[in-house]
Amino acid sequence: MNDMSTEGYTTEDGRKIGGTLMEMKNITLSFGGVKAITDISFDIKEGEIRAIIGPNGAGKSSMLNVISGFYIPQEGEVWYKGEKRAQMKPYEVARLGIARTFQNIALFDGMSVLDNVMTGRLNHMTTGLFAQGLWKGKAEREEVENRERAEKIIDFLEIQAIRKTPVARLPYGLKKRVELARALAAEPSLLLLDEPMAGMNVEEKEDMSRFILDVNDEFGTTIALIEHDMGVVMDLSDRVVVMDYGKKIGDGTPDEVRNNQDVIDAYLGVSHD
C-alpha cells in the first residue's frame, strides 16, 4: 500500500477506498509561544476511517479544530476535494459538508432529541423566510422531507425511544449518540469525531464502535476520529496518524503503526539519555 498516492486502495476486509478527500499540508499551529502542531501533513481518503491518536496534549484536538475551521493555522494549507481551502469560519466549513462532534458534548440542551437532529439539517433547507412564513407548498414539503431524513437517522442510531426527550435529561452515553445523530443528519462528506468513546463504559464503547462502522458501511461516510483508547482505534480504523508533542511520529495501517518504534516509545515512555 502506498500512502503518498492520490489513488485509492482496497482494505484488508475488501472495502474499496477512493481518492484523496482532504489533505493537510505542513500545518503549524501555535498559541502564543506554545506550538500545538508542528509541520504536520497527512491525507484523508474518500470512504475510509482515519484515526488520529496520541498521548494527552499531543495536539490531536487542535488538529481536528484546524480541519473544522475552529482554529486557523499560522502555516500550511488545507486541501479539500482537490481545491485549496481559503481561510474560513467554522460555519462556512460546516456548509462545505464537514460535520463534527465535540469531546465535551455540545448539544442544544433546551431542545428535544428530534429538534437537535433537525438542526443538523439546517443547511439542507433553502426556502426563504417569506415562503416559510406563509407555510405553504415548498416550505412545507421541505420540512416534511427533512423530518423524514432526521427520523431515518434516529432509527439508524436506535434512539427512537427518546426522540421527544429534552437532551439535558439524557445520560452521557446517549448524549454522545445524539451528537453523532446531529452530525450525521447533515449528510456530511467528512465526519469528524472528537473522542467519541471518551468517558464511556465498555458496553457503550462497543455500541459506539458498531455505530461508527455501520455509518461508514451504510452511508459510505468518510470518518476522521480522534481517540485515546488504542485498542478501539486499531479495531476501527483503516489508517492511523500518530501524534506526539505536536509532531507526527507515525502514519499507516494499524499494524504498521503498532510496530513503529517511535510510537511504542511515545506510548510506553522511554528514557532519554
Binding site: P90, A94, G110, L122, Q132, R169
Partner: protein, 328 residues
Amino acid sequence: MPEQLVYAMEVFLNGLMAGVLYALVALGFVLIYKASGIFNYAQGVMALFAALTLVGVMEGQVPFSHLINAIFGTDIHHFGWHLPAIVGIVVTILVMIGLAWMVQKFVFKHLVGQEPIILFMATIGLAYFLEGVGDIMWGSDIKKLDVGLPQGINTWIDESTFKVFDYGFFIDNLDIFATLIAAILVIGLVIFSQYSKQGRAMRAVADDHQAALSVGINLNFIWVMVWSLAGFVALVAGIMWGTKSGVQFSLSLIALKALPVLMLGGFTSIPGAIVGGLIIGVGEKLFEFAIGPMVGGATENWFAYVLALIFLVFRPQGLFGEKIIERV
C-alpha cells in the same frame, strides 16, 4: 347586578388592555434574552428611538438639524414633506435593522463569551447612548404621533354594555387595536421560533455557540436578526405608547414596567410575556380599584414590583420559564 361588580368588570377589561401594552415591551426583552442571554436594558429606549424616528420621517424632519445648523450656519429644519404612515413605518423598520447591525458589529461581537453582567452593563451604556442620539437627531420636544390608528371610546361596547348593565363601559379603540396587534405578533413569533429554519437556528444559538457553528449557523447573522426583531417589536410598542401619550423621553421608562412582567412570565417564554403582562395589568388596576381608596391611592406605582417579588420567592423561573433542572 350590584353596581360595584359592574365597575370592577370595566376595570378588569381596562387592566387587560393596559397589560397588553406592558407585554409588548416585555416581548422585546424575551426575544433578545432567549437568543443571546443578554438582558437588554435598552429595549425601552429602542421603543422611544423607533417612535422618534417614525415621527421624524413622517413629518419630514431633517435628522441632526441642530447639529448641522450649528456647524454650517444653515437654517434647515424640515424637508417639507409629509409622508403616509406606511412609508414612515417601512423606513423606520430599515433604520431599526441598521441599528441592529451596528449594535452587533460595534458592541456585542466584541463581547461574545463575556459574563452576563458585562453584557448587561453594555446594554445600559447602549440605552444612554441611544437616548442621546435620539435627542441630537430628532430634538427633545414632545411629539404627537398619529399613524391613523382608531382612537377614543368604542361606542359599540359603550352602547351594548349600557343596554345590559345600565352603565356604559369606557374602552379605548386604541387599546382594542393594540390587543389585536399583540395577538398577531405573538402568534407570528411563536410560529417563527418553533417551526422556521431561522427560528430553530435562533434557539440553537441560544443553547450552545460551538455546536451552532458546527452545524453551519452563522452566529452574527442570527444575532443581527434577533436584534432586528427586537427593534421591530420596539417599533410596535413605540407606536402604541406614542399614540397614547405622545412621543416623549419618559417613554423609555416603560422598560421598567416590563421588568415585573418578565419576573412573572419568565425571561425565556414568549407566551409568558403576554400572560405576565395581562396579570400585571389586571392586577394593578383591580388592586387600585379595590384597595387603593383605603391606603390613599397610587398603588399602581408599586403593586407590580411587589407582586413580582412575591413571585420570585415562590417560583423563581416565572410562570412559563424553563425549569431549572440540575443533574447531580
